[in-house]
């Protein structure tokens, strides 16, 4: 199927394709009710409740008024539906905002301001710089004479770099004034979701000449939700609109995340359901037998001799209804409520507010807080997550002289300041390259300061550093740059920019000194990209040593170089460059090749080292969380050396001899396999030793390993507690998360940038750092925090408390439902197994929804251990990780407790209220109050810390129970008119209550005390210790670790000859795999070199001088 788009033809395509109205709504006003109900009823629990509620409409079998089930059911459904409706309304509002955004579009040959939703396929849309693209467009024209424009595609694929888009060749050179009159035909495929592919044809109609069909690719498109950057204007023809855009097609509702606790609750619910079926079956059969043998003799019951065909079913169904409360209808509501509150506690937490930016933590997903307490693996990004992503120029090495080694800051190094003052030519050149070899745009602020807008943080750091050394980049006027050096203005004209790509790993500019008219080529880039281009005579050894030394310190390095160009050489080259730039096929490759022709015989000026500082508290956080039994994997796009250094400095891996790094690398499948096997072998051997073993793998090897040696890699993943994966792409990050998930681990992914979005969405818990790389990660994440160090608090405090509280709440919910259900069962045994309900409808409903829910909800304030203790003994998290507080065996304990309590309540009540007191309503209320009293004490006994609210809820609820029942007893129309007043006047009622409480709680207390004292869990010990406040608090103290940056870095043992890898790693990188695909091995850009291997002892010597 093809889609034919007629450019600027207002009449033709109107009706065929949808307009540009975006709709993310799940519902419309009309289908809301049926669709929402359908969705809610696709869940098992809800189906169950609906079935029960429907069965209750059959008066023959219902034990109680159907309202007692329908009421709560409708309430619950109404609450969920309202929430959905509210969310949908918000989506509608945001859609509306997007739809009503004003855009410039051509209508009937005239440029007009129209609403985004009125764009039709075939319309021409004009965009200005920083505009969001409203629909999928095919580019027709841009402000750039070469037909280029830049887009930021972060919202689409998470990549933060700017991408170039170019107009189709057929449109090249169309005059600005004529653009809106262009007519033509675009043949394109039907909408699909592939954002990397667009194969279409364009044919312009006369007078825009040539009838040739011009091919169009994804490079000629602007896709919806991208931003136009660094381009004054662009215009294009709408080809896909509304929900048919590429983005619209990819948009899916993210799968709701289910926590491990939820899964366990579901499992337990299933078990209870089976138990219920067994009970129903047994009682049903027993009831039928009793009916046939005994009940027929009871003349006062008047059983008909011949019943209807369904007679055999009646009693089992009655028991089904009677036992239906075993699965508490309130559990879902209670859980939703408390989970909402956990999320609020995270939002409210003052200790997780980033003071620098006043960013509080935020829980976007309110349903998964318990999972935080069960995390087993943390997969973390490096840049911006562990580090501040605030690049600061720290050291440099200019023509063999090291600056900044002593004080750690080159800007304060007097030698360098003096060198600048004395205008040492090398230093001046170095500074010039720092200041102008970039794509930074300076913006003058009103107060006279200059704001640099850079695509890369590295460039920004260099420009700032140059400014600090009096080489101030002041202004950019088109192609003319103003540099202010020691109060004199130097002007440079930028003739060409040889852009940075991740293949080339360097960027250069050709500038003309406006005073002298001389031409210069200024380059900067990774050492392996620059050093080989050095002029033949120059010694590069010092520089590579410098690079090595800096990268040992965890600094990012850039080599700076320059060359003076001859006019002729440049002119000749410039022609080739222009030609390459307008090439239609293999443009990237050709440009790279042309650039290569200029970038040679460079004079290396020096090495700049940039520090990406570790965030505050990162080493402590990692150490604490590792003590808590959480394994860390670092997934970074950065390269190996830097990653390892950062890993060392933040306690990620331990230095020798405690730690060992195993390297997996290789370029071919075989190499990777061998390396993998070797590492696996070492792992197996060392797994019994108390040694920190970590493996290091790069993206290339990872791809092979995942594809061909999946099993071996899986085993490695299981064995290894720590891993460093460098040079990995966003999708590989997600793959690794998937791998750990498939090993049944709870994973938490934390990152800050667009490249982490996929991993964050994939993991059980996604945490975003609302950092400098924008807010995409934070938006996609379940939790967003301001700084990495808050992760400690998020997991150990919020996650742990949430897990503990939910574990109690869910089990307690089952306990109280089972309690009342067991009593009903016992009662049926003395009521002729006929399925009589002991309790009336009001009591049953209020018991589940009200009496027993309120006290337990206040449990969200319960804290078993203080935050301080948990932080000092993070090992205690093990109880949550291993699910020690909610599992079948703890559940069996609660099950047994409810059975025991049911027996206590029932036996005591039927004996103390026997004979003349055995009135139905009275006994029912006695039993019910017995249950309420017991549950109040159970909650009290299980509460670890009583705040005023807890007392209020537990004891207030008990009072409320009486008040409510007095009120109900005062209503003449209710069945229990005067009952409660009568009971409260009887001394035997109160005596019975106290007997129930003591008989029910005594054994529980005794058992708990015995366990607490003689079989204490770690939690118990810590609680006791906390209470005593004694010496324990000093025992597990975590000493703050000093930064490892400036201290001696111990040598690492690496199981393989360390092939030193390049250090220059810009933030904006394409996937490294692209390198190998576009250039085969042996291509001129394969700079892989192995000669420069340095001993660390030498590095130390360097440091001393």
């Amino acid at each position: 199927m093809k889609r034919c788009v007629y450019i600027n033809d207002d009449d033709l395509s109107h009706d065929i394709y949808c307009d540009n109205r975006i709709s993310n709504r799940k519902y419309t006003v009309w289908n809301f009710l049926p669709k929402n109900l359908w969705e809610q009823f696709s869940r098992f629990m809800n189906q169950y409740f609906l079935l029960i509620a429907c069965l209750q409409l059959w008066s023959l079998i219902t034990p109680v008024n159907p309202a007692s089930t329908w009421g709560p059911l409708i309430l619950i459904f109404a609450v969920s539906a309202t929430k959905e409706a509210w969310d949908d309304y918000n989506r509608y509002l945001s859609d509306k905002k997007a739809n009503e955004k004003e855009v410039w579009a051509v209508r009937h040959g005239v440029k007009k301001h129209i609403q985004a939703q009125d764009i039709h396929v075939g319309n021409m849309v004009w965009l200005r710089e920083n505009d969001e693209v409203p629909c999928d467009l095919v580019l027709i024209g841009t402000s750039d004479p070469q037909g280029l424009c830049y887009v930021e595609t972060a919202a689409l694929d998470g990549e933060t770099d700017l991408k170039t888009r170019v107009i189709p060749s057929a449109c090249m050179g169309i005059d600005f004034d004529l653009l809106h009159k262009v007519k033509g035909l675009i043949e394109c495929p039907e909408p699909d979701k592939d954002i990397r592919r667009f194969d279409a044809n364009l044919r312009l109609f006369p007078p825009f000449l040539d009838n040739d069909v011009c091919p169009i690719t994804i490079k000629n498109t602007l896709l919806q939700s991208c931003y136009l950057r660094n381009t004054e204007w662009a215009c294009g023809v709408a080809v896909y609109t509304g929900n048919e855009t590429k983005l619209g097609m990819t948009r899916g509702v993210p799968e709701p995340k289910l926590t491990a606790v939820d899964a366990m609750i579901d499992k337990l619910t299933g078990a209870i359901f089976v138990f219920q079926l067994v009970v129903v079956m047994v009682l049903g059969v027993a009831g039928n037998i009793w009916k046939d043998t005994e009940a027929r003799k009871l003349w006062y019951v008047e059983y008909p001799t011949k019943g209807p065909w369904y007679e055999l079913l009646v009693i089992p169904l009655r028991f089904e209804l009677l036992c239906s409360i075993m699965i508490p209808i309130s559990i879902k509501v209670s859980l939703d409520l408390v989970k909402g509150l956990y999320a609020k506690f995270i939002d409210w937490d003052n200790k997780m507010v980033d003071q620098e930016t006043s960013t509080p933590a935020h829980a976007a997903n309110t349903a998964i807080s318990e999972d935080l307490g069960q995390v087993e693996y943390i997969l973390t990004d490096k840049t911006g997550t562990l580090t501040e992503n605030q690049m600061i120029f720290k050291r440099c090495c200019i023509s063999g002289t090291f600056y900044g080694n002593e004080i750690g800051d080159a800007l304060k190094d007097e030698d360098l300041v003096n060198a600048v003052a004395t205008r040492s030519p090398d230093v001046i050149h170095f500074l010039t390259v720092m200041a102008i070899c970039n794509t930074v745009v300076p913006i003058q602020r009103q107060n006279g300061t200059i704001l640099y807008k850079a695509q890369s943080q590295d460039e920004e750091a260099l420009v700032h550093a140059a400014a600090g050394l009096h080489m101030v980049f002041v202004k950019k006027n088109g192609n003319v740059l103003d540099i202010n050096f020691n109060a004199s203005v130097i002007q440079y004209e930028v003739l060409d920019t040889l852009e940075f790509t991740s293949d080339r790993k360097r960027m250069s500019v050709v500038v003309k000194d406006c005073q002298s008219g001389k031409l210069f080529l200024l380059s900067k880039g990774a050492d392996e990209a620059i050093l080989p281009c050095a002029s033949t005579g120059q010694q590069t050894r010092t520089f590579s040593e410098a690079v090595e030394q800096y990268s040992q310190l965890g600094l990012r390095t850039l080599c700076l170089a320059w060359r003076e160009l001859e006019e002729d050489e440049y002119q000749e080259w410039s022609l080739m460059f222009k030609e390459a730039n307008s090439a239609l096929v293999d443009r990237d490759w050709r440009i790279a090749e042309v650039c290569q022709r200029l970038e040679h015989h460079l004079q290396i000026l020096g090495v700049a080292a940039i520090e990406d500082r570790l965030q505050d508290g990162v080493p402590e956080t990692i150490e604490t969380l590792r003590k808590a039994g959480i394994n860390f994997w670092m997934l970074t796009g950065d390269k190996q050396n830097t990653a390892i250094q950062i890993a060392l400095s933040c306690n990620f891996v331990s230095p020798e001899p405690k730690g060992q790094l195993l390297l997996i690398n290789g370029k071919t499948g075989d190499e990777v396999r061998q390396s993998l096997e070797r590492v696996l072998l070492t792992m197996r051997i060392t797994s019994s030793e108390p040694k920190d073993v970590a493996f290091v793998i790069d993206g290339w090897a990872l791809e092979i390993a995942l594809k061909h040696h999946h099993k071996a890699f899986m085993e490695l993943a299981l064995l290894s507690k720590t891993a460093i994966c460098c040079r990995v792409t966003p999708s590989q990050k997600a793959q690794l998360v998937e791998l750990l998930k498939s090993c049944e681990y709870r994973t938490l992914a934390i990152g800050d940038g667009g490249n982490d979005v996929r991993m964050i969405q994939q993991a059980h818990i996604g945490v975003g750092i609302s950092g400098r790389e924008g807010l995409q990660a934070a938006r996609a994440a379940d939790y967003s925090i301001g700084k990495f160090r808050f992760l400690k608090r998020l997991i150990l405090v919020h996650g742990r408390y949430s897990y503990n509280r939910t574990a109690f709440l869910s089990q307690y919910s089952f306990y109280k439902s089972l309690l009342i259900c067991f009593i009903q069962i016992f009662f049926s045994l003395i009521s002729g197994v006929s399925g009589t309900s002991l309790f009336n409808s009001v009591s049953l409903m209020a018991y589940n929804v009200f009496y027993t829910s309120v006290p337990v909800l206040v449990n969200v304030l319960d804290k078993d251990l203080s935050e301080r203790t948990v932080m000092q003994h993070p090992q205690i998290l093990f109880y949550c990780q291993a699910g020690r507080l909610l599992n079948p065996s703890t559940f069996a304990g609660w099950f047994g407790r409810s059975l025991f309590h049911a027996i206590v309540v029932f036996v005591i009540c039927i004996h103390s209220y026997a004979f003349e007191k055995s009135e139905m309503e009275e006994l029912s209320m006695v039993v019910l109050s017995g249950c309420i009293w017991l549950q109040a004490f159970v909650v009290a006994l299980e509460t670890n810390s009583f705040t005023i609210l807890q007392h209020l809820a537990i004891w207030g609820n008990l009072v409320a129970f009486y008040v409510i029942n007095w009120i109900v007893s005062a209503l003449p129309s209710s069945g229990m008119y005067t009952i409660m007043f009568r009971l409260c006047r009887q001394p035997s009622y109160w005596i019975t209550m106290f007997l129930i409480v003591v008989a029910g709680m005594g054994p529980v207390l005794a058992l708990k005390y015995f366990r607490y004292t003689y079989r204490p869990s770690k939690i118990n010990i810590l609680r006791q210790a906390e209470r005593l406040g004694g010496p324990i608090l000093s025992l597990g103290n975590i000493e703050p670790q000093s930064r490892a940056f400036e201290k001696e870095v111990s040598p690492l043992s690496i199981s393989q000859p360390k092939s030193r890898s390049p250090v220059y790693e810009p933030l904006l990188s394409d996937s490294p795999n692209a390198i190998r695909r576009s250039f085969g091995p042996g291509a001129p850009f394969d700079f892989f070199q192995s000669q420069s291997r340095l001993s660390s002892s030498y590095a130390r010597n360097c440091k001393d001088n």
């Binding site: 108390p690 055995s918 005594g1002």
Partner: protein, 338 residues
């Protein structure tokens, strides 16, 4: 390039910065009781010390109750006749004379109960077969739907309808002591709430016990339901298959060893289902009728508490266990990483 969008965000977030409150920070002052041996042992001792006297008190109260229980269903039927046929027949003479001896002095009022054993007033079919609306208001006499199978007769509503009313107990007792009739006060045996509200004073029995199958007692159609106290008592269904219902009161003291002659009209058919019928004369105390359960229960539980407390003390003395000793934490014993 991200700085553009980043810079606008923090400023808008500033307002969202949470306000400090002890609730939101989860820092509400809390008391954290822990189960120290002292606390637990004290609790148990305290409970034991309180419970045993209460138990003794209840037990003595229960023991003070004088109770005469006389099962008469077996003896009030000629042994040579088929029981069910006898009781169902209109013609047979069902009068039965019993003689009871007062064991101890019974202070007035002496309550007269009839006790039925193995009678399932709590059977689902039975307990539901009544129409409270009909009983309350004469306008609702047609609301008989829950009353099946005793709802209507010849399509005329039965008042009171349903199995409960239909199976009304109809044995009667006459008492005499030393040849003198003891008057039985049958006033106010039903709950006030039933008389004043649940059963209407304008609702009169209609079509009651007119069917082919006659259940229990009949009602005087001239007396409104609210004054038919036997019916009211009967319709307070019992929750247990063995129950007593108040028949009346004897408003005079009965001396010890007095012989009471009871003339029983043995009408009610408890034979068909193997039920037992008993006549009970009983006094009451603050705890109610004779019921040793609570007293014994309190003494047992109290004793167990004291026993528990002793055990814990002994355990504590034999094997003292320091509270919160950090050496019990495994990670303090072993180097981390294991």
């Amino acid at each position: 390039m991200s700085s553009g969008e980043g810079s606008s965000q923090p400023s808008s977030k500033k307002s969202r910065q949470p306000k400090y409150s002890r609730f939101t920070q989860q820092e509400l002052p809390a008391c954290k009781p822990i189960l120290t041996p002292g606390l637990v042992v004290t609790t148990f001792i305290l409970v034991g010390v309180i419970f045993i006297p209460i138990g003794l008190l209840s037990l003595s109260a229960s023991e003070r109750v004088v109770e005469i229980v006389d099962r008469y269903d077996e003896d009030c039927i000629p042994s040579d006749q088929e029981k069910t046929a006898f009781i169902q027949s209109d013609k047979t003479n069902k009068t039965c004379v019993r003689s009871l001896t007062v064991p101890k002095k019974m202070q007035h009022p002496v309550y007269i109960y009839y006790q039925l054993d193995n009678f399932y007033q709590n059977h689902r079919r039975y307990v539901k077969s009544r129409s409270d609306k009909q009983l309350r208001n004469p306008e609702n006499e047609d609301l008989t739907s829950p009353c099946e199978p005793e709802a209507r007769i010849d399509n005329k509503p039965i008042v009171p309808c349903g199995l409960v009313a239909w199976s009304l107990f109809n044995d009667t007792y006459g008492f005499s002591v030393r040849g003198m009739n003891l008057s039985v006060n049958k006033k106010d045996i039903a709950w006030d709430s039933d008389k004043n509200y649940k059963f209407g004073s304008k609702v009169y029995p209609k079509n009651f016990q007119q069917g082919s199958l006659i259940g229990g007692g009949k009602l005087d159609e001239k007396i409104p339901l609210s004054e038919q106290e036997d019916l009211l008592v009967w319709m307070r269904t019992a929750a247990l298959p063995s129950f007593r219902k108040l028949y009346g009161r004897i408003e005079q003291d009965l001396e010890a060893n007095e012989k009471i002659t009871v003339v029983i009209q043995n009408n009610y058919n408890a034979y068909a289902f193997g039920g037992k019928k008993k006549l009970v004369l009983s006094t009451t105390t603050w705890i109610g009728g004779k019921n040793n359960f609570l007293g014994l229960g309190y003494i047992t539980i109290g004793g167990l508490c004291l026993f528990n407390a002793t055990t814990f003390i002994v355990m504590y003395l034999i094997k003292p266990r320091p509270c919160g000793d950090p050496s019990y934490l495994s990670w303090n014993r072993n180097p981390p990483g294991n």
